[in-house]
């Protein structure tokens, strides 16, 4: 089954270097109540892995260790497939809404 849009967006954000929850939320603009479950599901499906930040280092910064996410090989493949799928969306005319597709 193809991944839903939210999952692809999350994978994309991780691939783009956003490594933990709030960063990902800020990068893609979805709600936290959506993004966290998506992360769990992706991890369950083996598309991302998570690691806890080195505790010593966090202590040095006097803050709790964060949970970092990273893509697995399967996650990268799924992301590539998903991007391909969205790239292949049929172009639609937006003239009726008086909107011009952005150039560039």
């Amino acid at each position: 089954m193809p991944l839903p849009f939210a999952s692809i967006a999350v994978l994309h954000a991780i691939a783009d270097g956003h490594r933990f929850g709030f960063e990902i939320i800020d990068a893609i603009g979805l709600k936290s109540g959506t993004v966290y479950p998506v992360l769990e599901k992706l991890e369950g499906a083996g598309l991302v892995t998570s690691t806890w930040e080195d505790a010593a280092r966090a202590r040095q910064d006097k803050r709790p260790p964060r949970r970092y996410f990273d893509l697995t090989a399967a996650g990268a493949t799924a992301l590539a497939d998903g991007l391909e799928r969205y790239r292949n969306l049929k172009p639609v005319s937006l003239r009726a809404w008086k909107i011009r597709p952005a150039r560039g």
Binding site: F20, G21, F22, I25, K31, S32, G33, T34, V35, Y36, P37, E40, K41, G44, W52, E53, A58, D61, K62, R63, P64, P65, R66, R67
Partner: protein
């Protein structure tokens, strides 16, 4: 404020909110959830504090994010629980299955058998209903047949076909003509006898069949007779017999002694548009004179084609039929054809008596197989109920510890699903192996009958549906029953548990009653079909000879014209009549009761005026002298066809009783005259009626014409023998070889083998339904045994008490058997009622017995009572042998 400082005021509020939400997350994930959120919030808050600008706005955004933590926690709760529960149930179910391998194997075997048979027969049914594979738009293809008042399966003549096609209404896309012909084909050095179709030029285009190699037929190859000796091979023949030689196209081959050019190989999977028959080659209509006797392209009265019609898209068969009937009426008026014949269009599987019979029999078998599956499910349900009884205490403990009933039902359903999936997989494996078995029922006939069935996506979907259905049937009952058992009584000791199992016992008894009833139904069906087979084999076909050898010669491919052919046949007959062991010998064009059907012709009776619209048509057979004597067909009056009935002598005919009665009412038929084939013939004999095309047909007119007066080049030798028919075969082969080594002898079989084809549908029905009936009986017996054994185990203390108080063995046996008898009698009564209601549907498939045949019912009762008592006797005996002390201690 510097990085890493203690939380400030509003951060502390957020963290406290987070801590308050902790309870929402599932225990197993709570710590991680909290750590992750706390770290993320902490980090963000530092970032917010470091930034200059609208702090309030950033803080609000952070608060909104934190609100999402609640949703995340709740989501986790359900996500984790679902995963955990299902994996727990799966593991638990798997452990139960492994721990009781006997139970598991029996349950899966019963389900697998039921699902396997059903899926197998489902795949057969699909084949039966779609008898023309490998064509485009097969839903739009229908067969065209001529009809009269009494017949609806007449062939069409070529001139009529051309007229119909030229004037076809818009509701028909096209009409193509075809008929099956045996061909002697020589490729390279080796001659082969194959079956081919002679087809009109539009054949491949209309059927949407693209050649795999080369081409189909060109329009100009369909114009002038004899001008285009070209042939297209079927893909199967090309692959099997010609070794898939891709250079075959353009090569010269010999067909019936005439050079032909191979122009193509048809697409794989296509085998012609004759239902259930597989053609190996295709030749154009204009080559008719090379492949069949006589010039049939101009004779309007001579029907020999089985046209196939393609309906226009979206047009119903009824519409097209009505339109085409108007065309037929015009054609008949314009061409001055007398009588009131018309046409009908029918789906391929409905076109012939035998195709309908095949479909009907297979549909009946599918119903039977589904009932067997149902009985199997009932057995598994019963076993699960028994097992649930063993787990009653466990269930009660779990309920009292707060497990929800839904939760328990889910667990039982997961177990059932595991069993059903096992059954489904087994079933598909069985079906995969068994789908091809249908071809075993095809009789030894010269025709290339191909019922090849295979498992396709639809059959697999059917298997999946059946698996789901069986989970529902056998899983739901114990699931509900198990979860509603009384809590208190189950937790108490076993004395009370006996009373709580009462409802379970009732349920199991009910299940067995249903099983017995269903197996009564199946046994009745099986007995009816067995009696049908017996009757069909015993039906008097109108001839008494039973030991005879049949062998066919075809002089057309060997290049014999009429005169030489006549001499050959007379010499051959003279020689084989001299062979030791041959009592009598003759020939006939087509043996009665073959699958090829009979030939018919229009005719007139001198002195008989047909009623308005009465269609005068009769079957006919071209026979040699002594045919009636050889076959043992009694003569009512007059004489047999004799040696003197040759061309130039007086034209004669022998008619049957029905013809004599119908058209010579009140006047002597002997010495009367018929007119057909453009001549007037004298009736010299009247033969007894017989069966000509099927065992169940009603009496119909038949005429025997001397083959030397109305010549055909192909004939089946009939040699009535005193001993083993095959013992005379070497002599016959030698005789043919002596006369002409180039004339092959083919389709050699005994009369007994030939007669098997006549009862092939009945035999298929009888063997499959009987097999399934036995399985059903066995399953019901197992079910009954299970219930009885369980009941004995349950009543052990009671039995011990009775024995201790002085009951003897006979009393105990009577006690236990009495319970079994009640179940069986109830099941019998219900089953017989069911059978009376249902077997009426089979009336059309039965021969010589009515659906309410008393003998069949009595036989069923006897068989069932015997089997039931056997399976109840074992537990009863065990109960009677019980040592009262042990039994009492059981408490």
């Amino acid at each position: 404020m510097t990085a890493g400082s203690r939380p400030t005021g509003w951060l502390r509020v957020l963290l406290r909110a987070l801590a308050a939400m902790r309870g929402l997350a599932p225990a197993s994930r709570r710590r991680d959830w909290y750590r992750q959120w706390r770290a993320d919030v902490w980090h963000e808050s530092q970032w917010v504090s470091r930034e200059t600008g609208p702090q309030r706005q950033a803080a609000t955004a952070l608060a909104v994010k934190v609100a999402g933590a609640a949703r995340h926690a709740l989501w986790l709760r359900f996500y984790v629980r679902r995963l955990e529960m299902i994996s727990h149930d799966l593991r638990y179910g798997w452990r139960l299955m492994v721990r009781r391998p006997a139970f598991t194997v029996v349950a899966i075997a019963m389900l697998g058998l039921g699902i396997g048979t059903s899926v197998t027969i489902f795949s057969w049914l699909q084949t039966a209903l779609q008898p023309i594979p490998g064509v485009a738009d097969r839903d739009r293809l229908v067969m065209l047949q001529g009809t009269t008042r009494t017949r609806n399966d007449l062939s069409t003549s070529y001139p009529n076909l051309v007229d119909y096609r030229e004037r076809r209404p818009a509701s028909l896309t096209d009409i193509a003509g075809q008929t099956f012909v045996p061909l002697n084909v020589t490729v390279g050095r080796s001659p082969r006898r194959i079956y081919g179709l002679i087809v009109t030029g539009n054949y491949f285009d209309m059927l949407g069949v693209r050649p795999m190699l080369g081409r189909g037929f060109l329009p100009e190859e369909d114009r002038a007779p004899g001008q285009a000796p070209v042939i297209v091979f079927g893909e199967g023949f090309w692959r099997r017999q010609l070794g898939g030689d891709r250079s075959i196209v353009g090569k010269a081959v010999t067909v019936n002694g005439r050079p032909f050019t191979v122009v193509g190989v048809a697409a794989p999977g296509f085998r012609g548009a004759m239902p259930h028959l597989a053609a190996d080659a295709f030749v154009p209509m204009m080559m008719q004179a090379t492949v069949m006797a006589g010039d049939r392209l101009t004779a309007r009265g001579n029907g020999w084609l089985q046209p196939v019609v393609k309906l226009a898209p979206g047009v119903s068969r009824e519409r097209a039929e009505a339109d085409l009937r108007n065309v037929v009426r015009q054609v008949r008026a314009d061409r001055a054809v007398s009588g009131e014949g018309s046409i009908r269009l029918s789906e391929p599987w409905r076109a012939y008596e035998v195709t309908v019979a095949i479909a009907a029999v297979i549909a009946a078998q599918l119903a039977v197989a589904l009932i067997v599956l149902l009985i199997g499910c009932a057995n598994v349900a019963s076993l699960l109920l028994a097992r649930a009884a063993g787990r009653q205490r466990e269930t009660a403990v779990r309920l009292s510890l707060g497990a929800g009933r839904l939760r328990l039902i889910q667990q039982v359903l997961v177990e059932s699903t595991l069993l059903a999936v096992g059954g489904g997989v087994t079933g598909v494996a069985v079906a995969y192996w068994a789908a091809g078995l249908i071809q075993r029922f095809v009789p030894t006939t010269p025709l290339p009958i191909d019922l090849a069935a295979s498992l396709d996506a639809r059959a697999l979907a059917f298997a999946l549906g059946l698996t789901a259905l069986s989970v529902f049937v056998f899983g739901m009952v114990p699931a509900l029953q198990g979860s509603y058992s009384s809590l208190v009584s189950s937790l108490k000791d076993s004395a009370a548990s006996a009373s709580s199992s009462r409802s379970r016992t009732r349920l199991r008894n009910g299940i067995v009653v249903a099983q017995v009833a269903l197996s009564v139904l199946l046994v009745v069906c099986a007995v009816l079909f067995l009696r049908t087979l017996h009757n069909a084999s015993a039906i008097d076909p109108g001839f008494s000879t039973r030991t005879a050898l049949l062998a066919t010669v075809d002089l057309l491919p060997a290049g014999y014209e009429r005169d030489r052919g006549t001499v050959f046949m007379r010499s051959l007959l003279a020689r084989v009549r001299e062979l030791p062991g041959v009592e009598s010998a003759s020939t006939i064009r087509r043996m009665p009761l073959g699958l090829t059907g009979t030939s018919d012709t229009s005719f007139e009776v001198v002195g008989y005026t047909p009623a308005a619209g009465e269609e005068m048509s009769t079957d006919f057979s071209n026979v040699s002298s002594g045919y009636l004597r050889t076959m043992g067909i009694p003569l009512i009056e007059g004489r047999d066809i004799a040696d003197g009935d040759i061309a130039g002598a007086r034209d004669v005919v022998v008619i049957n009783e029905t013809l004599a009665r119908r058209y010579f009412a009140g006047r002597p038929a002997l010495g009367g005259q018929l007119e057909f084939f453009g001549r007037t013939v004298d009736v010299v004999g009247i033969a007894r009626d017989g069966k000509y095309s099927s065992i169940s047909e009603s009496p119909r007119p038949m005429t025997y014409v001397p083959v030397h007066q109305i010549y055909v080049p192909d004939a089946t030798l009939v040699l009535a023998t005193t001993g083993d028919p095959l013992s005379v075969l070497p002599g016959v082969q030698a005789a043919v070889r002596d006369l002409d080594p180039n004339v092959p002898l083919f389709e050699v079989q005994t009369l007994a083998q030939h007669l098997e084809t006549a009862t092939f549908v009945q035999r298929t029905a009888a063997s499959v339904v009987t097999g399934l009936g036995v399985v059903a009986l066995l399953l019901a017996a197992i079910g009954l045994y299970g219930v009885m054994a369980w009941s004995v185990a349950l009543r052990t203390p009671e039995i011990g008490m009775r024995v201790a108080l002085g009951a003897n063995r006979r009393d105990i046996i009577r006690l236990i058997l009495g319970q079994g008898v009640r179940i069986v009698v109830l099941g019998l009564v219900l089953g017989l009622g069911l059978a009376v209601a249902v077997t009426r549907l089979l009336a059309g498939l039965l021969v010589g017995v009515t659906p309410t045949d008393a003998v069949s019912y009595v036989l069923t009762i006897v068989v069932l009572a015997f089997v039931a008592m056997c399976s109840a006797a074992l537990p009863a005996r065990r109960a009677a042998r019980m040592d009262p002390l042990t039994a009492l201690r059981h408490e």
